[in-house]
Structure formats: structure tokens, C-alpha cells
Amino acid sequence: MNKGTVAFVGRRLLQLVPVVLAIATLNFVLIKMAPGDAADILAGQMGHATLEFTQELRREFGLDLPLAEQFLVYIRRLATLDLGVSVIQQQPVLDLILDRLPATLLLMVTAIGVAIASGVSLGVVAARRQGGWVDNVISVVALLVYATPAFWLGLMLIVFFSIQLDLLPSGGMMRIGVDQSPFALALDVAHHLVLPALTLGLFYAAIYARLMRASMLEVYGQDFITTARAKGLPERAVAWSHAARNALLPVVTLAGMQLGHLLGGSILIETVFAWPGLGRLVFDALQQRDLNLLLGILFVSSVVVVLANLLVDLLYGMLDPRITHK
């Protein structure tokens, strides 16, 4: 890595601080604007709790302090990377997140891998046969997948692959209560990963296929493609090594921007497939006014998204040597 890149990375990491602070503030305000607090919900869930009991809960978790003070306490803790204790779950927020983060990352990385690989290939294939029946089929299917709600697609995939054909498990991340060798465990997890990753990835594959096709057509019109063809390069090489590499940049840009979106999408998918990731935790935290947990998850996910975007920017330089990081 050269000096310029190091400085670029450093600068981007510094940008994390205001981003995270802004996210924390915004979410604090939003969740405090919603009526009701976590003590009410906890007491409500327990049933037949007295008013005194509810107030004790509020005291225990500092929910009785003035709002400004609660905010200061929170920011002060965040500065020392202490995410606090979840009011509803009554466990350290960091533990709750770290328990589930790996599963979500695995699902996201696989899904985006599936999406880019299949989206790009289909886009290239469609562009090479522009106007032909292959192009038409790919375009129509992509449009259909794009328009299908992901959770419904997931349920249909379960019905087909898991109930009808009995080929793939309907949910979960691994077989339960079986001692497996690391290799067998990896295979088992992969087996469980197929349907959720496919469900989450297909939507993005559809977008990338359409984007890649348009981008390829644009590149095809440029002079260096005419040059490559004039040199007598086979059409396959023209498409994949010359056109595709250049056409890839918009896809990479979009993929980078969509990482946050992908994390949001995984909430639904994780619920449908009982995938033990962050998704469900976000949903519950929001429902239960679990401020600490929600802010913790948003903190971690914003860090993940910012870091992923940084990676994308670095990837640009590799794909296109004309881009340098200043």
C-alpha cells in the first residue's frame, strides 16, 4: 500500500467518528420520540407487576433521568466503546451483538457474492445478445425477481426445496445437538446457507444484471472496443476482459452503496429462515424500545457499512488503475 492510500484510509476512518455520532444522536431522538419506554414493556411482559416495580426497573436502567442526562450518559459510554446493558435482555449489548454478528456477515457476504457473480454474468450474456431471446428472457426474469417481495420468495423456496423436494433445510444455521467435525460443520452450515443467501442475493442479482447490461452496452459503443475487435481478438475476450472490466465500475459503486440496504433486507430474510443473525435483534429492540441495544446494533452496523465502503473504494483502484486515492 502506498503512502497516499494509507492517508486515504486514515482519513476515511476518522470520518467514522462524526458519522457514528450523528447516527447515535438521530436514533436517540427518534426512539425517545416514540411513546412508551422499555420499563413499561418489560413490566407489561411480566404481567401483574406493580407500579413500584415498574419504577424500580426504570431506576435500575437509568430511564428515570432527564432526557439530556440520559443522552450524555450514553455518549460518554460510547466514547469508551461501552455499549451498555440491554434493558429488555439484561445482558451486555456488545455480547448480544457479537453473538449474532458472524451469522449476519456470513449471510451478507454470501448473498452479495451470489448477487454480483450471477448479476454480472447474466448482464454480460444479455448485452452480448442484445435484442435476442436470451436477452429478453434474462430481462423479464430479472424484472420479475426484482418485483417479488423477498420474504414471499423465501417462503416459496422453502415450500419447493424443503417441503416438496426435501433437499434443503427450511431454517436454522446448522443441525442441532449433533457433534460434528469442523469440516462437516462447515458443510452443514453451507447447506443451511443456500436458501437464505439465494433469497437475499437474487433481488440484488436482478438489479446488477440490468445495470451490468446497460453499462456493457455503453462500453460497447466506445472506441477501445472497436480497436480490440480490429486487433482480431475473439469476441469472448473482448466482452470479458475489455468491456466487462470497464462496465463493472457502476456495479461495484452500487453494491457498495447498497450494503446498508442489504443489512436491512437481511432482517426479513433472517426471520423467515430462522437465521441467527442481527436482523431479528434489530426488530425486537425497536419493538421493545430497547434503546441501548438498538443504538449498539446501529453503531456496529454503521461501522460495518463504513468499513465496507472503504473496501469498495480500495477495490476501485484495483479494477481501474486510473483511479488513485488522494
Binding site: M46, G172, G177
Partner: protein, 531 residues
Amino acid sequence: MPISSARTLFAASLLALAVIPAHAQKKGGTLTYTYQPEPTAMSTISTTAVPVALIATKIYESLLEYEGAGMKPVPGLAESWTVSKDKKTYTFKLRKGVTWHDGKPFTSDDVKFSIEKVVTPFHSRGKTYFGEVAAIETPDASTVIFKLKQPVPYFLRAFQAAESPLMPRHGFSDEEIATGKIRTAKIMQNPIGTGPFKLKEWKKGSHIILERNPSYWKPGRPYLDQVVLRVLPDGSARAIAVEKGEVDLAPMSSLPPAEIQRLGKLPTMVASQEGNEGLGPIMWLEVNNRSKPLSDVRVRQAMSLAIDRRKLVDVIWYGQGKPASGPIVSGNPNHFDKLLKPLEHDVARANKLLDDAGYKRGANGVRFKLTQNFLPYGEEWVRQAEYLKQEFRKVGIEVETQSLDLGGWLKRIYTDWDYDYTSNFTHNYSDPTIGVQRAFISTNIKRGATFSNSMDYVNENLDALFRKAALLEDGPERAQVWAQIQAILRRDMPVIFLMEMSYSHIWNKRVHGLITNGISMYSGWDGVWVD
């Protein structure tokens, strides 16, 4: 002088067990169940929410166990007990040789510690059960004496595993005890109990595995090797897992009602609404009695008459319940007034009552408008709200529906008191003094207290009856007081009783021995076995 000893009863029940052919119960195997959401802790001290109570009651026990729908107390960790004549001294003899999951002996000190330092201050119903305890004495390692300030008629029902779990003193650090960090103590995630099962693995978001406690005090028990909880957040996915046999049991209505009805018809499945009598979930429309027109009892009675409860149960809830007759569920053999008739459905009379009350229909047929809220627990509650809107329209009441999530709902109903009516449900629990009194006694009109008297309903006569019932032992006299209370509440209609909800359980036919008492899913399952 002892007036009650249950040792003979226990011997008799053991004898009864011996009569069942020995090959009936099988040892070994795994029972997998699913419930949503995932528990947040392994002890009901942390929270008594259903998912926690389900799993914690396999790990922790209390002094007694309970038999039958009437929840008759039988020996558990206490081998026997005596009650003094003035009903203010309860002496329990502990079973000897019981050990915690970590091998250390279970003693009377643990009982005293659990009740005084853990259950009373931190359990959500701790003060309800043990608020009258003046002192707990432990003359020796296997004797515990509770001295009460005044008699508590339901005291012997306090010793359920979910209500007063016994926890080891040595499981808490001195710092956790000194700073009162009981609810977040390490043991809440890493349980050490005396129960038939102990924690083997908890993979958050995925599953929990409990394994048999090899040194459990009941000889030959538990039958199962493992109890597994699978976390399946999506309702349809849970139903699929049950249908495919990947999950053996979906307890406490953890499947959508439509799925329970569908799966219950399969030859491989058993669907049951039994085993919840000790919880007694009951649903009503909570009505704000503060202002007109709902402050008029005739209006509330008319609304009650406008509802076809049979249709409500069958269509909206897929038959998973029973029309309510009053505040106490009919499955409660000790307190329900069996003479009560079902609440009527009579649109003509409803219209007449509203006319008499002075609310004539306007030009568009509307008498007045109301806003309804509903408990945000899923689609059935939404559909019920839509159904009620239709029925009330027929008697000239126009209803607008307002949707809130749980946090917003709790605040609007119990803190702001800013509502007309809302669907709601609560539990009778093992005694109506615990479960029913709370919602109707006028001293419980407290801003911010969830599931309290949000209606602003005041009836001094009723308050006095509640106080009287709270001091009487179960028997004809107490039953009479409860009958009076039920009659008053049916007449005054501070809330409109709708339905005895049923917690429906659905399980694979390979599972046996699940339903044993009024809190079957909150029992230890040591007698459950699989084919």
C-alpha cells in the same frame, strides 16, 4: 398442631404411577419445542415473560409441585409441610440429599436466601406472594419456617417453579448481592438449579439444549435425555417445522391459530387447550369509564349484547378459546361460579338500551363515535377489531381504529388513560386475588401501572369483597364471595368480557405425558417421554 400433611398423598400418587404398565414410559430421546421470541434469560427472576418461564421451569424448582387443573399442592423439594391453626406459620421439611447442578448440597439457607433476597424483591409477583412474610427461620439445614403477618389464602400456591424459583446462594457473587444486581447476575445466563434438566448449550438466535440432570432427586427421572428449544422467528416457518417433524411441540399458542387448526387435524398431531387452568388467560374489551357515553353502564351493556362471542371464537380465533362468562375462567374449579350463564348476544335489546340511555340514531343511523385500540400481538387482534367495528355499526356506534405498537399502546392505555376501548387480556393465575382483583379494585387506579384498573372503575362494595376474599381460605364461604364479585362485574361491565383465551399446544403423537396440571408447560417435564 399440623392440620395438613401431604406425605400420604404423595405415596398414594407413587402407587398410582406403579399401576401403569412399566413399559409405557420410555427412557431417552429428545423433545424439541419452539416458541417465539427467544428467552432473554434462564430464570423468571430476570423476567416472567412466557419464553423465559417455559425454559426456566425445567432448570429451577420451588418447594412444591402441583397436580391437576385445580393445582393441588404436592411435595416437591419440600417433602412435607404443616400449617399452624392461625394460618400464619408454615413449616416445610426439605427433602434430604438434593444437590444443585454443580453438585453442592441444597439447604434451607438457599431457600431463605432465594425468597428474601431474590424472589420477593425482584420477581414481578414477589411482593404479591411474599409481601406478608414477617420472617423466614431455618432451625436446621432441612427445615424452613415462614412466619406471616396475616393469613394469605393462596400462600401454598406460591411455590411454583416459575413463581418462586429456588436459586443457590453460592451462584451469586457477594458484589451482585451487595449492589442488588440480581436481575443481571451471571447466573441468569448460566443457570444452576435443582431441576430435572440443566443447560448444555445456548447458541443465541438459534437454539438452546438442556440435558438430563443425572443426579435428579426423583429416582429414574427425567425420562428424556434432552430438551431442545429451536428459535424460529417466523410463524409459517414454525408451522412447517412442526409439520415436518423437525419440532415435536409448539406450546402456548406459539403457532398462528389458523395453523393450529390445520395441523391439529393431521393424524400425527395432538392439539390441546388443556393444562393452562392455573394461568387462566382471559380477554376483554377494556373500557374507559371516565366520560360519556361509556360512563353509562347501559351503553357498556349494549356493547356487550352487540357481540356474538361464539362467532368471535370460531371465526377470528379459529375455535381456539371459549366465550367468556365473566372475569374468572370456567376451567378454574375453585373459584368460577358454575351457575353463570353465557353472556348474551341480542342486537334488539342492545338498541333498546342505547335508546333508553338517550343516544338516538342520527340521520345516518349513527348514535355516537368511538375510537378503538387493540393489543398489538398479531393479526388476529387486528381482525377482531375489524369484526367489532362491524357489530357495533349494527347498533349505531361508529368506530374508528387506531393502531399502536406495544410501547405506544401501554403508554396510551395505562399512563395517558387516553382511549375509549381496547382489546386486552390478562391472567387469572392460580388465585383470583392475584389475577382478578388487580384489574378492578379501585386502589389500583394508578397512572403508569400496566394491566391495572385503567378504566377508572370504582365500586366500594366490590373493593370490600376483594378484601374479604383475600383473607379467606378456599372453601364454600370464599367461593360465595367470588360468586358475588363475578355477579357485580357482569352487571357493572367496567370491561366487556369477550373470551376465555386458550393457550393451545400442539405436539407430535410421539410425545407423551405433557399435560399434568394447570401450568403444564411451566412444569419440569421430568415425566414426559417420547416414543
